[in-house]
């Protein structure tokens, strides 16, 4: 099943020319959001994916609040650094699953198939 990519979704809204890029609507309609084609094999990995996505929402909110006071404060820098760290971890997981077809829990689950984390994830 082919799902539209974000770039195509953005194209539907406004052309990407120069500063027009910044006039795009910030929240995309849910139906056009990209969904990763390759999904987690084990429940534990699915849980990690969801946890990371939630953490991104949380930490972006936190950083926005902290930086309202002073954009150049240490707290503001650290808050956005945390957002970056979690965003990168989320992206790493996505790449492992999509590009490399490796579930990080693969080897752990070979040894411990009875744990809750190692239940095969079904959509």
């Amino acid at each position: 099943m082919m799902l539209p990519s974000p770039s195509r979704a953005l194209q539907n809204q406004q052309p990407l020319i120069g500063s027009d890029m910044f006039r795009l609507k910030q929240t995309e309609p849910r139906g056009l959001r990209l969904v990763v084609a390759a999904t987690a094999k084990y429940k534990g990995t699915k849980m990690r994916e969801e946890k990371l996505s939630e953490m991104i929402v949380e930490k972006v909110k936190e950083a926005t609040e902290v930086c309202e006071a002073d954009v150049r404060s240490e707290e503001c820098k650290v808050a956005w650094d945390e957002v970056e760290e979690v965003s990168q971890a989320r992206a790493d997981l996505r790449i492992k699953l999509k590009l490399l077809n490796q579930d990080p829990l693969e080897s752990f689950c070979q040894e411990n198939p009875e744990t809750d984390e190692c239940r095969i994830y079904e959509d």
């Binding site: 990407l16 120069g18 950083a63 820098k77 650094d81 971890a89 992206a91 590009l99």
Partner: protein, 395 residues
């Protein structure tokens, strides 16, 4: 695996001295023979690990650069089996890739308390980094900490065996002078701000927590620490891969077509820079024309000697994209000093990872070439170590 050399020396009762390095173990077999004046000595040198440093602000363990590099040596790099599933380490037959985030001295909570980002040297234990890289280089296994990027905590250490090639990847491979001196080769991946922004948009826009503003704010907030602590490392690198927006499309800001420059330091031992047509000259080359047809925006190459932070360098630059296989092989056939084992090896390696980002532009091309250069460096280093004991005996 031990490398052994067998050679003969003159009789022990002659006034003959030879020195052995502290890392070699020697076994003497003394045989008294009347018709011969030579004794046989078998020397086994313990393995010396080649250490490569890669500075990149793109996280660890997934970077396609690492995968291209390990692929040049054969075999896929995988996380250690049966260990912590959140390990950042990658292991293949010949190489082990260590993520320098594992040497964080402060976990996420600790950094928040102290008000330091992960980019700040105060969040990293350089003493431990130095000790462990030094130990691995001398062939000693280490218990290396694990920094868990999901929980933000420091997990229990994992055992790392000394590999043939150790790659240390992260934000600070060249920050500490002692660690720098251990590196046999170092690379800095220098992404320009515009390209970084475009890549982070591609990376994060699908996440419901993110918006263009949050992505922009995150980059801006990290910039002061990045410029102060990470960026200055590029002056120490033997090779810098600089990624810039294309000059072929006016006002392009999609960041899809890229201009990539491979800046290679001159005079580095075992490293001979790649060149185009005539070494040391300045060449501007557009391969598309009568023999090769390319689609828009085409491909443009530049080669020239230059100066970079007071060092002499050679720069090969590619702007544009590969559309077809024959463009890639055409370009490969005109580049020199690639250190390939056979004609078409660069193309073959690029095709192996055709689905990786950068496979159709200079990032993939130069990452692959740097991988081949590292293989060449490794082979020369090993060959040199094997001849060294024999030469000591001849002296």
């Amino acid at each position: 695996m031990a490398v052994s050399t067998i050679y003969s020396t003159q009789a022990l009762n002659s006034t003959h001295f030879f020195t052995s390095s502290s890392s070699s173990k020697q076994v003497f077999f003394y045989r008294r023979q009347t018709n011969r004046r030579f004794n046989t000595i078998i020397t086994c040198a313990t393995q010396q690990t080649v250490v490569i440093g890669l500075a990149a602000d793109s996280g660890c363990g997934k970077s396609t650069f690492m995968r291209r590099l390990t692929s040049v040596f054969g075999g896929a790099a995988e996380p250690p089996k049966g260990g912590n599933p959140d390990s950042n380490t990658l292991i293949s037959d010949m190489t082990t890739v260590i993520c320098l985030d594992d040497y964080h001295s402060l976990d996420r909570t600790g950094r928040k308390e102290k008000g330091v980002t992960a980019l700040d040297p105060r969040a990293n234990d350089f003493d431990l980094m130095y000790e462990q890289v030094k130990a691995l280089k001398s062939g000693i296994a280490v218990e290396k900490p694990i920094y868990n990027h999901v929980t933000g905590l420091l997990d229990a250490p994992e055992l790392i065996q000394p590999p043939k090639i150790l790659v240390i990847e992260g934000l600070h491979p060249m920050f500490d002078e002692r660690v720098r001196d251990l590196l046999d080769f170092s690379i800095y991946l220098d992404i320009s701000n515009e390209v970084k922004f475009a890549w982070k948009i591609q990376r994060d826009m699908a996440e419901r927590g993110h918006s263009l503003e949050s992505i922009k704010a995150s980059i801006e907030a990290r910039k002061p620490d990045f410029d102060a602590f990470i960026d200055p490392q590029k002056q120490y690198a033997d090779a810098v891969i600089e990624v810039l927006p294309t000059q072929l499309i006016p006002d392009d800001n999609e960041g899809k077509v890229l201009r990539v420059r491979l800046i290679m330091k001159e005079g580095v031992k075992y490293f001979s820079p790649v060149y185009l047509f005539d070494e040391g000259s300045t060449v501007s080359w557009i391969p598309c024309g009568r023999k090769l047809t390319c689609s828009y925006p085409g491909i443009k190459f530049n080669y020239a000697p230059d100066s970079y932070f007071d060092h002499e360098v050679s720069v090969v630059e590619m702007d544009g994209q590969f559309d077809r296989l024959d463009e890639l092989i055409y370009v490969e056939s005109h580049l020199s000093n690639l250190s390939t084992n056979f004609y078409g090896e660069v193309t073959q390696q690029m095709l192996k990872h055709a689905d990786f980002p950068g496979s159709n532009n200079g990032t993939g091309l130069f990452q692959t070439i740097v991988g081949l250069k590292i293989r060449d460096l490794y082979e020369q280093l090993i060959a040199n170590k094997e001849t060294a004991p024999a030469e000591a005996a001849k002296a």
